[in-house]
Subunit: 333 residues, 4 copies
């Protein structure tokens, strides 16, 4: 049995608690939050779980093997550090840390102490993202041209981070996972209308061979959009995460470039074929992630969403900040 | 009666010809194209119209008062210049010219010779764009936050211009018209996968008071998208030009920012109200534009889509090129 | 405090239990089901609630004031009868009973014993249905022309009833509520492909003044559709219950009939105006219904969804059966 | 060369004229209409075509081999009869005739005189309908369960026919073509709100083996819907004719019925698989139909949309009228 403690019981914490608690090989020992009301709700749902207001009771508990850090990003480093120092494995909410330096320090410490870090990039456990990775990896898409993501809605305003740190970690982690390539540079633009932090932003990520990724994140949109287009040489894909039944559509569409007869006579033919919407299973992603967490510990495997994966995302976020501060300048990675 | 000649009979030319020809006060005298087949089609449809292969027969004809230039952009300057020199009013396809310098020269010449320039920013004559301008101008939207446009589809590849020069003139002219503000700066990113010219690009335009405009133009999208979001303090608007019946939706949604109690206690309340889709008439925009062209000549009015309007768009396009060449650098206007 | 017992813990029962249990003035005493596994789940969620396998322990319990009957329709009569005989108020799942005669008997008994019957027509407590009733009642729609409902999807097959008894009670109760008119006749067609019971059916309900209602119910549709069109003289309405944000759209569209100049010269003009999507709140309907149930008991009010309302729906269902057995014959009510 | 005359220049006539005129082997001799304005438009577009106001000038012209009857249905019989009597082949707008008896008389006469009748069931020449027929005929769909069509919009009111005679001929001819089965019976309901003719109607058509077809036709709908669902044992299909790119979606969905363990223990499993949207070409259907007409004449073939096909549709329409007059009674065919 794994003995697990959870720090943080806000928006996402109850889902972490529910899924760890439901796992057969997990004993959810204790939950911590400064908000007494949040703890009361947990007590009502799970009378057997202890609660506390001081995170150190979790990170330093002798009864706990694993600490889940589900707090605002500004506290991730301190809490994860204390947990690792006390010999606990950590499951950390995304984004991993507030700076790349913090992430690197945690990774080094975990390495020394042979402890596991998993960063909660939940989307990587959805059937939709798995299917996208599959059709990229097996060559169905062909050489990739672009990755274009839109994640906009009204709110939720965070007090401690801007819209990029709030929304883009989802998309950066998905891009990192499905493209599996090292980005060369980042540029970002953003403005804040409600307070000093950006509530609307656009990010470009540049890769080799002219592959580009673009991210539109916005807290001030009247409509909710969760759409990603991926263009490849052989096929093109649209992922609409809000579609109940047809989340992924793969188009047998594209262009065939013929022999150029001189610079102004490029022969471009359009291909227009069938569209195919593969069935996407509806399992809860977080359940699969918790299963995977336990498996990795049991079998002493390094998870693909480890500290390094978390660090890659934090580096992208830092580069965005730097680009915005420098008027949209391209920042090398 | 206005005697009109049309140079260029490619994709858009036949629409220009049809609409000028249908106007009661227009006598469509002559059509010019290098492609004999295109001219034959015109002859079959309109046996009374003369045709020719040499544009100078139009620009220098003593029987013609107005020259429509519906050719590739690289030829606009030369043809419009010759027409103006020969005392003709000109109706020029968008984008107006290949460089701002060319546009300025044409504007100056027309001014001296008291001739009219109209640039064919057709979208400004659609009921949808008129309605958007109306709700911005009458205060319905409140202070504006952002303008976010997506115009993507598969093809049509132009040989002589990149995707920005092909698709963005539509959106730049609409933005120029409905916002009616002078942009401060531009940044743009783009890559070319099919040939050396950009086929995917993203453009930011910066205004005072943190108002930003963003443009996503792409020739390599499997799906056709023609959507613009406009966020305002009071209301937000979605324009989906592909929707047959509900092109414009206005949302009584937004945020109300309360008194801040300290820097980390911003009170943000979300407003969620009704949505309203005003009826948008379905008159052909180009017909209205041709009517307006004739009216302006008859009443000696300066059209709002004059050479200056065309120049503003060309300056934005030039700034995009400069930004792409300088790695996405912000280019002041 | 109201002491409540619930019989039936299948698909819908847990929602009844959750909502009654959450009400401040309710003491949820006991839950009954023949399935031990279902009871264990309830025990885990609500350790304080008693469970039992014999429904009579609920209907005859001296500790219980209200019995919720959430079992298959074939058992409603017997269980509600026993509960009423033992002086309990009843909250009965829809459809109320398997026959109109049963419903009448229960209504009579409740009347004699001054006990309350509420039939769980949950949809009548949704904001969408409330809004529809509002725009009909306040004259926004004008004289009504038709009510046209489609409720189709793949499954869920019931063993004991056909697709009409399974799906149409929702729509019949909504129609009954928003139209508030007595139907004159019913006709129905249906076929069964999977077993002897109808899995596809179409129902017409006829009212005075040529008002008609039509219902398309189907367990064999590849796509889920939940759409109702209501046509009125002044306005027309589309209710798409699957739309997350724009469930109700009201169209200022219609026809204006002018003076007829002879029988073949009817002057029909089409009106095409704005569309308006009123905000629809997202409160849980069942919570509002349980609140209403408690209010009605406290204030000794007769609920609008009482036994009589339940009986009206059962009469429609019986008429459908009769029409199908008589080759789609119109059955008077 | 075929010498063709066209009677009727209203809504659809100009399309017939355009397509026959464009055919290489057709000489479009003359067009007839009582409306002088309509003829003037034709003259302007096609100066070489003769015009006349008297249909007999067409049906009795010695210069004409083929007469196209594109007039209101009440006149089809008389005009086609006169054309056939005078030795012309006929191309008749749908519905073929106002009564089955008229259709039978025309078929008999054409047979005797070895003349061809083609009824303009244009939809049978669309790529979408062709694809539907293909997946039914090749077994992709499996045994068919139902055909469910919705064709509703605001207007167009016909003065001489009801909504069934106006809209359902499209759907009846498509059903007749893709199912290729003889219907057993028809029932229909309808009401008229604007004048005495039905403007809203619902039709059921019954086939062997419990296959049913249902048609919802309505002139009073605020939204335009053109959707057909076809359910089969192996696959299910949705045809949305208003979708620009994905008109046909084929779902690998359905049910697998297991061994029944007693009457109340039917084992029904749901299959949920991929969805596939085959590419549907965008050729103009009427062009293909005119090509086919000429081919049939050249090669002395009997068209599949011959007088018999037209008659089958008229019989269905007559049965609808009879059922409505008899309170929705099932009418055997």
């Amino acid at each position: 049995m794994l003995n697990v403690g959870v720090i943080g019981c806000g928006y996402w914490g109850p889902n972490i608690i529910r899924n760890f608690n439901a796992h057969d090989e997990v004993n959810l020992v204790s939950v911590c939050d400064k908000n007494a009301e949040a703890l009361t709700k947990i007590k009502n749902l799970y009378p057997g779980i202890e609660t506390c207001a001081d995170a150190l009771e979790i990170t330093r508990s002798s009864k706990i093997d694993v600490v889940c850090v589900v707090t605002p990003v500004s506290t991730h480093y301190e809490l994860a550090l204390d947990a690792l120092k006390n010999g606990k494995h950590v499951f950390v909410e995304k984004p991993f840390t507030a700076t790349a330096a913090q992430a690197e320090e945690l990774i080094e410490l975990a390495g020394k102490k042979k402890l596991m870090i998993m960063v909660d990039h939940t989307f990587l456990f959805t059937s939709a993202v798995r299917k996208i990775k599959e059709v990229i990896d097996d060559g169905t898409m062909g050489k990739l041209y672009y990755y274009d993501s839109t994640r906009v809605n009204l709110g939720l305003f965070q007090h401690d981070v801007n819209v990029i740190w709030d929304l883009a970690p989802h998309d950066f982690s998905i891009m990192d996972y499905v493209l599996n390539k090292a980005p060369l540079a980042v540029s970002a633009s953003g403005v804040g209308h409600v307070n000093e932090q950006e509530d609307i932003a656009y990010v470009m990520v540049y890769f080799q061979n002219n592959l580009v990724a673009h991210f539109n994140v916005n807290w001030l949109s009247p409509v909710k959009i969760r759409t990603t287009l991926i263009g490849g040489e052989k096929r093109m894909l649209v992922w609409n995460d809000l579609s109940p039944d047809e989340k992924i559509k793969i188009y047998d569409k594209g262009i065939d470039v013929g022999t150029t007869e001189g610079i102004h006579n490029l022969l471009v033919n359009y291909r227009s074929g069938d569209m195919w919407a593969p069935r996407v299973a509806q399992t809860e992603a977080l359940k699969l992630e918790v299963d995977y967490f336990v498996d990795c510990l049991n079998e002493d495997k390094t998870p693909f969403n480890d500290g390094e994966a978390g660090l890659r995302i934090v580096k992208l976020l830092e580069a965005c900040d730097k680009s915005i501060q420098n008027k949209n300048k391209m920042v090398s990675l």
